[in-house]
């Protein structure tokens, strides 16, 4: 065989091999814009389990951070729907099905209640807000604190107690900038709830109006500005969820708001010490949410995407969400082993208040930057 023959044969063989693999394996394009703990969870736990349960299917985990990148992918899917083209997107691990505007009316998202999922009936009814998004994991913001500095029986359990504790212990509390992470954001949202009568149902995706916002948010800024001098460094705010955890871990502060899953994972990995306590406010919990997966109706591999959706609700994966991710399950606790329930009693929510995305969140975040952040006294 001379060189030219060798090249021709090897090229032909390569071509044959690639086309064979391409036809054998269905590649399911899954997108996520969540933090690294979630994308790692999909790459390292769900992908191998799903691929071994469904031979011939490859789960392609695409990380589309930040959120704006994922928004662009969804816009492409919507455009593909009207053009009847392949959206090159089969599954999004977490996306608000109310977006993009008009998406549901155009028929972009799959209605899970009619998709014939085997495990749909096991879902926690608290978690279902719309049939177009499939809740599969939950997380809630709670307060993480250092039990060596604050005894478990003295920890504040209501918002008023928390404010009193922060003022009595200046420099020992910090929350992150509301746009840089949900823990600080939901702490600010809890203040908004507090000044508006502790009724989360007052805030909806579609009921924003400037006059109410000016009134309610004005009161919230007053509460937060009142707290500012008693915060770490007389009013400093960390740049994200993990930066707050780091200050708690370094012993620089005693208490922070934190996501339940990130706090549990940090304790399990030793990033936070074993002496870290977790507590939820009892008068009204801090906000939390279930992550909702969505599937475009025009996905090229919609049937396989539905298989993945069903797989995520299986007992095996829901248990992994609790044990490996520190999240809480989207299925009812009754369909999971009893000993798990007892072990994680601390973080099992009795209620999960929410705060709407969209204009309310934008008003809270930008308003915070303009009204709360600059009021810092360095003297």
């Amino acid at each position: 065989m001379n060189r030219r023959e060798f090249l021709m044969v090897s090229t032909a063989a390569t071509l044959a091999a690639t086309t064979r693999f391409a036809s054998a394996a269905t590649r399911l394009d899954m997108y996520t814009s969540s933090d690294a703990n979630i994308s790692d969870f999909f790459s390292n736990i769900i992908k191998p389990a799903f691929e071994s349960a469904n031979s011939g299917t490859e789960l392609n985990v695409v990380i589309a951070r930040p959120q704006a990148a994922l928004d662009a992918v969804v816009q492409r899917a919507l455009a593909a729907l009207s053009a009847k083209a392949d959206p090159q997107l089969d599954f999004i691990e977490q996306y608000d099905p109310l977006l993009p505007a008009g998406g549901i009316d155009a028929g972009l998202w799959t209605d899970f209640s009619k998709a014939g999922l085997k495990n749909y009936g096991t879902l926690n009814k608290l978690a279902i807000q719309t049939p177009y998004g499939l809740p599969y994991r939950g997380s809630q913001v709670l307060l993480a604190y250092d039990t060596t500095k604050l005894a478990k029986d003295k920890v504040p359990k209501t918002f008023a107690d928390l404010v009193a504790w922060i003022k009595a212990n200046p420099g020992q509390f910090i929350y992150n900038r509301p746009d840089k992470g949900g823990s600080g954001n939901n702490f600010v949202n809890r203040v908004v709830h507090e000044v508006s009568g502790r009724d989360p149902s007052k805030f909806k995706v579609d009921n924003f109006d400037q006059a109410t916002a000016d009134d309610v948010l004005g009161k919230a800024w007053a509460v937060l500005n009142d707290l500012a001098p008693s915060l770490y460094d007389k009013g400093a705010y960390t740049a994200g969820n993990t930066a707050s955890l780091q200050l708690l871990a370094q012993g620089a502060v005693t208490m922070i708001p934190a996501w339940s899953d990130q706090a549990l994972q940090a304790i399990a990995k030793g990033v936070l010490p074993e002496t870290t306590g977790l507590v939820q406010l009892t008068d009204l919990a801090l906000c939390g949410d279930f992550s909702k997966a969505v599937i475009p109706t025009n996905a090229a591999h919609r049937d396989d995407a539905l298989k993945l959706a069903d797989f995520l609700l299986s007992q095996e994966m829901q248990t992994a969400i609790i044990e490996k991710l520190g999240g809480f399950p989207a299925v009812d606790w009754s369909s999971l082993p009893k000993d798990l329930h007892d072990k994680y009693a601390d973080v099992i929510p009795s209620s999960i208040p929410t705060f709407p995305q969209g204009k309310w969140t934008t008003a809270v975040q930008d308003g915070w930057y303009r009204n709360v952040a600059p009021n810092i006294s360095r003297t």
């Binding site: 400093a236 705010y237 740049a239 930066a243 200050l247 370094q250 952040a373």
Partner: protein, 285 residues
């Protein structure tokens, strides 16, 4: 006989143009075109006509102006600190050889290979509250230092360290033009260290200093990671502010306006850099 060299000159010109064509086209496509698009897009609205409202808003909004002002003074201070910190190292490396000089050089250039996210987290571990510095101070019974983390000084310290290598390399290349003979001649005539520096060295590396400052300003103006992770929540530098306006506030018009204004400042410094280069070339001829 006479025409042959001429045609070679013409061919050389054409192939020279071809060589620069790719970068020039890329510059047109990836830099100048988006700039033009952003500039026009913030001023002209199809169907509504011209409006400079977003610029009027920016320059009448105290919050935006405070962010711009912070960006300007952080940029100015950091650039000057970088040159001030790199100058002694550059002088040392120019006039000393040996294994210690090699070690100093590799240490000074080390930040070039460290991503800024790592710099930020290392900074928090070392200079942050209860960090390594605090631990060492407590170990020898000294009081803890007030930490610069989340203070205006935080990003400045981080940015100075991060930008040191590039500044150092630019100054070293400038110092390469200072001949050892002229320094020795001045020393033989009895000039002291300060005189040699101000009368012999500084005039020779003037354009290098301007180039270093201009390069620093361009990089610092768009600094993102370190001000984001180490700085206070407010005022913000233009980089984080633009990102927040664009993605959190979903307000591309104002984000683009901020970008155009930022670009205008950078373009002014770019002009200074181009002038310095042109002057330096003339000086060589």
């Amino acid at each position: 006989m006479i025409s042959a060299p001429r045609s070679r000159v013409g061919g050389g010109g054409l192939s020279g143009l071809l060589l620069v064509a790719l970068p020039v086209l890329l510059l047109l496509w990836l830099v100048l075109w988006p700039v033009l698009q952003a500039f026009v897009g913030t001023l002209y609205f199809p169907g509504k006509g011209f409006s400079a409202a977003s610029y009027v808003y920016f320059f009448s909004d105290a919050y935006s102006l405070r962010n711009l002002w912070l960006t300007l003074w952080v940029t100015a201070l950091t650039s000057i600190l970088r040159v001030a910190a790199a100058m002694p190292i550059a002088l040392y490396l120019r006039f000393r050889t040996g294994s210690i000089a090699a070690l100093v050089q590799s240490l000074a250039l080390f930040p070039l290979f460290v991503p800024s996210v790592l710099v930020a987290y290392a900074f928090i571990r070392v200079l942050g509250p209860n960090g390594i510095v605090d631990t060492l101070l407590v170990a020898v019974h000294l009081p803890k230092l007030p930490s610069p983390y989340l203070q205006p000084a935080g990003p400045i310290i981080g940015l100075v360290w991060e930008g040191l290598p590039l500044t150092l390399l630019l100054l070293l290349s400038g110092l390469g033009r200072v001949s050892t003979a002229s320094v020795e001649a001045a020393r033989d005539l009895g000039a002291g260290g300060v005189t040699i520096f101000t009368r012999i060295i500084l005039p020779r590396i003037q354009s290098s200093i301007i180039v270093a400052l201009a390069f620093n300003v361009l990089g610092l103006f768009s600094a993102f990671t370190l001000p984001y992770l180490l700085g206070p929540a407010s005022p913000e530098m233009m980089g984080p502010y633009m990102q927040r306006t664009f993605s959190d506030n979903a307000d591309p018009l104002n984000a683009t306006t901020q970008a155009v204004i930022t670009f205008a400042f950078c373009a002014a410094f770019g002009l200074i850099y181009v002038r310095a280069i042109a002057k330096g070339r003339k000086g060589l001829r």
